[in-house]
């Protein structure tokens, strides 16, 4: 890939954002951050992105809501969206899939798996 993959990380926890940022930017990704679904949508309205990584439980607009909004819009509807989740139950997966998630990353993540997951979905 000639240019860096641009990633938007969405999490209401500043430490989780910092961890993601650290893990991704040291692997050559260009990382932006939003602290919930609403600010992610605001960011997405004016920025380009290659992959979105989002937490589920967030105030204002949660991860599922964010994915549905993105899929329902025009601008980023085909973008891969990875879900960060602490649980990997089939029910949660089905819910995330139904919402339109592309893949998921289990928290706590290890950097290698995170990077592999992002590479797998980055078009």
């Amino acid at each position: 890939m000639s240019k860096n993959t641009r990633i938007l990380t969405v999490d209401d926890s500043a430490s989780m954002r910092a961890l993601l940022n650290h893990a991704l930017s040291t692997n050559g990704f260009e990382v932006s951050q939003a602290d919930d679904g609403v600010s992610a949508l605001e960011w997405l309205a004016v920025n380009e992105v290659d992959v979105v990584i989002t937490d589920i439980n967030m105030p204002r607009l949660d991860g599922f809501g964010l994915i549905e909004q993105v899929r329902g819009g025009t601008r980023h509807r085909d973008r891969p969206i990875l879900v960060l989740t602490t649980e990997s139950s089939d029910e949660k997966k089905a819910r995330a899939r139904a919402a339109g998630a592309t893949g998921w990353i289990v928290k706590p993540f290890d950097t290698e798996k995170l990077v592999a997951a992002v590479r797998r979905v980055a078009h």
């Binding site: 209401d12 650290h22 609403v38 105030p59 204002r60 329902g72 969206i81 089905a94």
Partner: protein, 747 residues
């Protein structure tokens, strides 16, 4: 950002989460048990769990897991919210706070076995209560309906088809067909994987090609690509999965590993394994074929005279429909409000979080440097005004603009350091719960003005005295339930915490509705301890203040609650160190209120500028009660050394400021100068004799100890408008030093 710094952020977050959970549970207890509140508590605990896992705090993670599971059950309505449960959750939260503390300090994790058992018990007890709504996740069967509309609409939109699909298709199949001849198995043992992605795979932002690439990376070889379902170009829908593949995978690669690649894509990619199997047939979504009956939405647009234009927006219309559907409360999430289609409504729901989202963290050192510089700016501006006074231009518009800008900058800089007092108040419920356990006194908490802001340092250092005052109020102020009932009060005591901004200072009151201070007992004890003479005539207020006297509150603080080796004199000292004052208002039978008057900031203070001989000095306004020019007979001699000022019938000692500080005082008798009546913490009131009062203004405190050396009776120095240095009088130290203890007013 280093991992350590990220860890620090995590602990700051933990504090925020704990406070949020505490507030949420308090709201639950008060009767607000809606989904938002419960979800807020869940999210707070969930967030701590996430971080605990990420940073490797095993004990914290394990504990939060149980806590979170219980909260999840509560959120889903599996466990009923009743007062005993809320109590359990509050206790669980206290232990969570201890866990966080242990993780931060590297100490031993608290013993949580009992609580975990209780929480598990609460979940088990309600296990049979699963409501109807706890059904499994939405059935994917309903989805194709929406996809139909979209797919059909998309195929109507011929503009999408202006690319060379044949070439693209060739590329795609060539990638896998080209190497070697088809159906040629790789060297060595292998097994076969057959797969066919469905339309949904691409709709979710997946790119099957990338997955195939992953399979190839694992050593998979494409044996066959099924292109049989590829339609005619004019009915080609880019979102459909027309292709299927068969791969040969080396035996060294487990099926599990390969399935992992397709894990998340789930039902959207049909997979079969084994040489006897074949590429699964996947029914193309009916609407994808041009012969399919158009869905209602498309039918409507087709009826339009401009089908192409009308057809194009259809996918957009279909989309929200889908999002509303999938985000509607399903199964376990019945209590979660459907946020999907309503970002605006959701945004309004929790405006509080918005502030947090737009904040940045900065090094406190940088901030303090800024505030220092602003202080210098204020002084420079004052100097400029004073200098220009001489050349008669001080009335110019530019100068007043500069002055008002300087003031605005100062206020803004100060407000950066300001934080809401809620961070201190939020710890109180836990203190009260602990006290309820140890004293058996249940106290209701009322909080007013928790958004009142004051300096960060003041807030941080206010915690300890405040905690002590609250313990004191519950321990000594509020009566036992039976005594309260006998006195005709409700058995539950009430503690009211209030903070407000009043004329440039913050007034914090800690009021209980207890029995009030028993002045007889206090006076008797003070006499017994030798704090006051046996025949002392004291006003009610003076008796109340005796509890702040050093040495008063030791033996009588029999309980181990407030008597933690800290007396009320230390509380007063702490408050005083912060530039504040503490007073008592007590009514027998009605209760006692401790009133703390704190400065907004530590860096800038209000003072009275006075002249003493050729010196200019500053008396901090916090101490000043009044100033007066004594008339004939107001000052009486007491022996040869001491003069006493008669203030409305009360005699207070006169201290000649110049003499104490070694400056020549022009006014040799009180009648020639001005007396400033000051209040001190340890020596009652006194009157300071100065030549005259120059002004009253804000000043920036410069430490004498760091720039010179500590001087008794001097609290620091400041730079005046004309550039001269003025000493700030340490009123407490000076009066205590000037008056032998037997001469002090209270003694």
């Amino acid at each position: 950002m280093s991992p350590e710094e990220i860890q620090q952020i995590f602990f700051v977050e933990c504090e925020e989460s704990l406070a949020a959970a505490e507030a949420g549970l308090a709201a639950c207890r008060a009767g607000t048990q809606d989904a938002d509140t419960v979800n807020g508590v869940f999210r707070a605990v969930h967030s701590i769990k996430g971080g605990a896992g990420a940073f490797g705090y095993g004990a914290l993670q394990a504990y939060t897991h149980t806590f979170e599971t219980l909260l999840s059950d509560v959120r889903e309505g599996l466990v009923e919210i009743a007062p005993p449960l809320i109590d359990l959750l509050l206790r669980a939260l206290d232990t969570l706070a201890d866990h966080v503390e242990a993780a931060r300090e590297g100490g031993d994790a608290p013993d949580d076995a009992g609580l975990i058992a209780e929480m598990e018990g609460a979940m088990a007890a309600n296990a049979g209560n699963a409501p109807q709504s706890a059904a499994p996740a939405p059935s994917p069967v309903e989805e194709p309906v929406q996809v139909d509309a979209q797919a059909a609409a998309a195929s109507d939109d011929e503009e999408d088809l202006e690319i060379d699909l044949d070439a693209l298709l060739d590329d795609l199949t060539a990638d896998f067909d080209a190497p070697g001849s088809p159906a040629e198995a790789p060297q060595g043992e292998s097994w076969q994987l057959h797969l066919r992605p469905r339309a949904g795979a691409m709709r979710n932002g997946n790119e099957p090609l990338l997955m195939l690439r992953d399979v190839a990376e694992l050593g998979g070889t494409c044996l066959h690509c099924d292109v049989g379902q590829v339609p005619q170009l004019d009915s080609f829908d880019v979102a459909q999965g027309y292709l299927g593949w068969t791969f040969a995978i080396p035996d060294t690669v487990s099926e599990e590993r390969v399935r992992d690649i397709f894990d998340f894509i789930g039902d959207d990619c049909a997979i079969a394994v084994g040489a006897d199997e074949r590429i699964p047939d996947v029914e193309l979504d009916a609407a994808a074929t041009p012969t399919a009956a158009p869905s209602p939405a498309v039918a409507a647009s087709n009826g339009n005279s401009q089908p192409q234009e009308a057809g194009a927006p259809a996918p957009e219309e279909a989309r929200p429909l889908q999002s509303v559907e999938t985000s509607a409360p399903v199964g376990a999430d019945a209590n979660t409000p459907p946020t999907g289609g309503k970002p605006a409504a959701a945004a309004g729901a929790q405006p509080a979080s918005q502030g947090a989202g737009q904040s940045i963290r900065i090094d406190l050192y940088k901030l303090d440097r800024l505030i220092d510089l602003v202080g210098e700016l204020v002084i420079a501006q004052a100097m400029l005004v004073q200098r220009l006074d001489g050349v008669h231009v001080n009335a110019s518009e530019e100068l007043s603009l500069l002055e008002s800008l300087t003031r605005d900058i100062q206020e803004s800089a100060m407000s950066i350091r300001a934080q809401p007092i809620a961070s201190v108040f939020s710890r109180v419920p836990r203190i009260l719960r602990d006290l309820a356990t140890s004293t058996g006194k249940h106290v209701r908490l009322e909080v007013h003005g928790e958004s009142t802001e004051l300096d960060k340092t003041v807030i941080e250092r206010l915690g300890e005295p405040l905690t002590h005052l609250i313990r004191n109020a519950v321990d000594h102020g509020i009566e036992k339930a039976e005594d309260r009932i006998a006195a005709g009060k409700s058995p539950e005591g009430t503690l009211t915490l209030a903070a407000e901004h009043r004329s440039g200072r913050i007034v914090i009151s800690i009021a209980d509705d207890g029995a009030g201070i028993n002045r007889k007992v206090v006076l008797a004890k003070a006499i017994e301890k030798g704090i006051v003479g046996p025949d002392a005539q004291l006003s009610a207020e003076e008796i109340d203040n005796l509890i702040f006297a050093p040495g008063f509150s030791t033996a009588a603080q029999i309980s181990n609650i407030s008597g933690r080796g800290v007396g009320m004199d230390v509380v007063r000292q702490n408050v005083k160190d912060l530039g504040g004052r503490i007073t008592i208002e007590s009514t027998p039978g009605k209760g006692t209120a401790f009133i703390l008057t704190m400065p907004l900031t530590l860096a800038i203070s209000d003072g009275m500028i006075v002249n003493v001989g050729d010196q200019t000095m500053v008396v901090p306004l916090a101490h000043v009660v009044e100033s007066l020019r004594p008339g004939e007979g107001d000052v009486k001699g007491l022996g040869s050394q001491r003069q006493m000022l008669n203030v409305r019938g009360q005699f207070i000692p006169v201290i000649t400021l110049g003499r104490e500080l070694g400056a020549a005082c022009n006014a040799t008798t009180p009648e020639e100068g001005v007396l400033i009546v000051v209040d001190t913490e340890s020596a009652g009131q006194a009157a300071l004799l100065v030549d005259d009062i120059q002004d009253q203004r804000q000043f920036v405190i410069k430490s004498l100890a760091t720039n010179f050396r500590p001087v008794e009776g001097v609290a620091g120095a400041t730079i005046l408008g004309d550039g001269r240095v003025a000493l700030i009088v340490d009123v407490d130290g000076l009066v205590a030093c000037a008056l032998p203890s037997h001469e002090r007013q209270a003694a």
